[in-house]
Symmetry: C2
Subunit: 161 residues, 2 copies
Amino acid sequence: MSSNRINKFARAAAFLLLGAGGSVEAQTGEKSAIMNVLSSYEAALNASNAAAVMPLYADDAVFMPPNSQPAVGAAAVRQAYDAVFNAIKLNLKFTVAEVVQLAPEWAFARTNSAGTVTINAAGAKSAEANQELFIFKKGADGAWKIARYSFSTTNPPGRQQ
Amino acid sequence: MSSNRINKFARAAAFLLLGAGGSVEAQTGEKSAIMNVLSSYEAALNASNAAAVMPLYADDAVFMPPNSQPAVGAAAVRQAYDAVFNAIKLNLKFTVAEVVQLAPEWAFARTNSAGTVTINAAGAKSAEANQELFIFKKGADGAWKIARYSFSTTNPPGRQQ
């Protein structure tokens, strides 16, 4: 075993001893790090800033926006955000329902978001409310990144946006 | 350590030795088990059978259907499916894009589904297409169960259902 591999194993074993047999609410440090990614995502989204969104995603991430096929991989994710930001301006506040660490390098977060959406072409503003499910992966550099992300509106039918 | 705890640790350690440091495509046995849950889910959904859906969910699961607040816990999940099956009749085929095991007791699956939806009240049938993100947890009995589930339509805007 390389020392890198030994370190990984020791870290994983420590994690399992702490939370053997099931999920553990993410430990404070990891949870903070993931909450920070969510805050950065909220800020990038509200700024319609695709360049600021991208470092929050893993290279092999899958973004699953409604009314679209899943965007698989960074290039497709970037294209999807460019399309979103071209069409609408969001002003959302995210509320974190839970952050759960599943393994040393995997976690998920469930959130709700609420605020407004403005259609850029028409200028019409309406209420927006969503529920989000993020799967996070910790990269080799120790940074948590969005690996998979699915969301949908919580508005009643007929008020999709 | 109890022997149960030792077994859990040994199983977890074996998993880590197989796939230390990242995700592994779910091993054949686990992947088959998860694919079986997805097949059972497809069958229960197409039969509008909430009683058959429920054993596929963990007790503390969260179901996140569009146009609704998240259903948290088995009772709320059941209520949500009752409402869905009361309103519509689905005839969907699921295609599995990926099944990834994250830890001995955690995995996720990403799927697409396509087929038809019939509005029970009106009898109107239309094309339905969705993308799904499932998080699975392995219970104490060794059965993989749906722990979190978010999906959305892939139909273009204006053809939500």
